[in-house]
Amino acid sequence: MAQVTSKYPAAGLRAAPGLRERIDIPRRVAFAAAASMIFIVVLLLAFIAWQGIQLFVKDGTPVGQILSPTWQPDSTAGPTSFGLLPFIAGTVYVTAVALLISTPLSVGLALFLSEVAPRWARSVVQPALEIFVGIPSVVWGWLGITILVPFLSSTFSNDFTLSLPIVGNVFTVPGFLTGFSWMAGSLVLSVMILPTITSVSYDAFRAIPQELRTGSLALGTTRWQTIRHILLPAALSGVLTAIVLGMTRAAGEALAVQMVIGNSPTMPEAITQPVTTLTSQITLDMGNTVFGEPWQDALWTMSLVLLVISITSVVLVRVINRRRLAS
C-alpha cells in the first residue's frame, strides 16, 4: 500500500512520497539557480586566466617584464615593454590614500550611528547613506571633473615646501597642474567606499552585546573610553573586514577613477601629479586595441591581476572572520 492517495493528504499520516515528491523538482531547480554562481566564477576565472597568460604564452613576453616600470605597448613606436608596475603601484597608492581618508570617517560614522546618534539622527543619516551607495560611478566621476579637479588646480597650484629651521627643506610637493591627479582619484574613491566601510563596521558594532557597554559604563568610564577600550577592540575583526571590502571596491573601481586621475602611465611621483591604475588603463585602451595583439593581451594580464586581488581579498575576509569565530 505504498500509493495511498487522498484528496486530503493531511488527513492520515503522511502518505509515502510519490515519485514527484521523491525527485523534488523545486529543490533541484533552486539548487541549480544557487549553484550557477559557482559555474559563473569558474568560467570567469578560466576565461580571464586564459586570456591573461597569452601575453607570455603567445607573445613570448618574459614573465619578469611585467615588473618593469616601463610601459611602451606600441610596437610601431620602437621595441615594446609591458611593465605593469606603474599600474599596480598606481592602484595600490590611490587605494591606500583613499583608505587613509575614508577609514577614520567611516568608522567614526559607524560609531556615531550605533553609539551616539539619537533615533531621529539615525533615521536621517541611514537613508542618506543608502542614496550614497546608489549614486552611479559615472556621476561621481563627473562631480570629480566639474567640481573637485578645478578646485584642486585653482586652490593648490603652488609648490608646497616643508622647511624646518635647522634641517632646511625636507621635501617639496609640486602644486596641482591641471588638478587631474592621484589626490583627485583618492578623494573620489574615499567618498565612494565610505558607505561600504560604514555599513559593515556598523553591523560589527551592533553585534557587540549590550552587557559589554553597561559593564564598562558601570565602572565609571566615559562613553569615549568605552568606545576606545571596549568597543573598538571587540569589533576589530568586523572593522578589518569592512576595510578590506572598501579596499576591494576602491581597487576595482574603474570609470570614476579614470575620469579624474589624469592617466599618465608612469611610476607615481607625487600625490599632486597624474598617475594611472589598472582599471583606468583597461578602460582607456581596450577599445583602441585589436584582439590578439600583444598590447591588448597586456590589458588582459592586468585584468587577471585585478581578479587575483579581488579573490585574495575574499579569502582574507574569510580568514579574518574565522579568527573571530575561533577566539
Binding site: 529543490r27 539548487f31 539557480a33 559557482i38 566564477v41 542618506a128 571633473i145 581578479l307 575574499v314
Partner: protein, 318 residues
Amino acid sequence: MTTTAGRAIGNPSGPKPSLRNKTSRGSILADRAATVALWGTGVLVILILGAIILHFALAAWGVVSLSFILSDPSETTLGGIFPVLWNSVYMLALTLLIAVPVGILGGIYMSEYAGENPITNAIRFAEESISSVPSIVVGLFGLILFVDDFHWGFSALGGALALTLFNLPLMTRLSEQALRAVPQDERSASLALGATKWQTIRHVVLPLAIPGLITSVILTAGRVFGEAAVLLFTAGVGTPPHYNFLNFDLTSVASPWSPFRPATTLSVYIYKLQSEGLGAYVNQIVDGSAAILISMVLIFNLGARYLGRVLTRRLTAV
C-alpha cells in the same frame, strides 16, 4: 547606605557626591571632543549629500525639460537623451527578467534547503567572489564570451547577461535575507498540516516574504540602472540611431525592441560624452543626464522603502 558608600569612595569633603567624580577632567574633555567629532561625521555626510543634490538641481535647471527627455541626441545643439534613456529602461527590464527568477530561486535554496556542507560553502564563496570582482573585469568577461565567442557583437542581450551575472549574488543574498526573515513558526505550522516542503515555500513562505523580495528587486534595479563599466565592452558605446518604435522586427539592428542591437545606456552615454564629446553643449547635456540618473536612483530608493513599508503593513494587518 549608598550615599555614604559613594562618599567614602569618592571625595568625602565635596558638596556634591557623584559616582562620576573619579573621572578626570581630561577624560571628560576627551569624551566631549569625541562626541562632537562623531556628530561631525554624521553632519558631514548629510552636507555632502545635500550639496550633491543641490548641485545637480542647479545644474539641471534650464537643461532638463520634456523635450530634453524626449528628443534624439545631438552634441552641437542641446540634444536630448531619449534613445539612451530608452536603452537604460530596456536593459533594466531585460536584466531583471533573467536575474529576478534566478536570484529568488537561489535565495530559496540558500534559505530553505541549504545545509551546512561543502557545497553550500562553495556557493557562498562564489557569491562573495563575484561580488568582489571589479565591474570592468565582468565587462571584459562579457566581451570575450558574448561579443567574441558567441559572435553577437555589441548587443543589449550580451550587456543584460553580463549585468545579470554581476548582480546575481546581490539578488540572491537579498532574497535569502528576505526569506529568512519569515518566522520559523509559519513553516512549522504549514508542515504540521501535512503540506510538503515546496507547498510550504510556495504558499506560506513566499507570500510572507513579498515585501522583502520587492525591496531587494528595487535595490538591484537601482544598481543595474547606474552601471556603466560592465556595459562599455558588452552593449557598446555608439550614439544610438533614431528609433522607430513600430519596427517590431526583432532581428533588425534598427528596431528598439531587438535584444541583438547595440544599446548605449544613459550612464554609458555620460561616460562617452565626457571622454570624447566635443560640442559646445556637452557639459550641459552631461549635467542634465546625471541629474536624471540621480533622480532615478532617488526614486528607486524611496520607492523601495515606501513599497516595503506599505506591503508589510497590508500583509501583517490582515
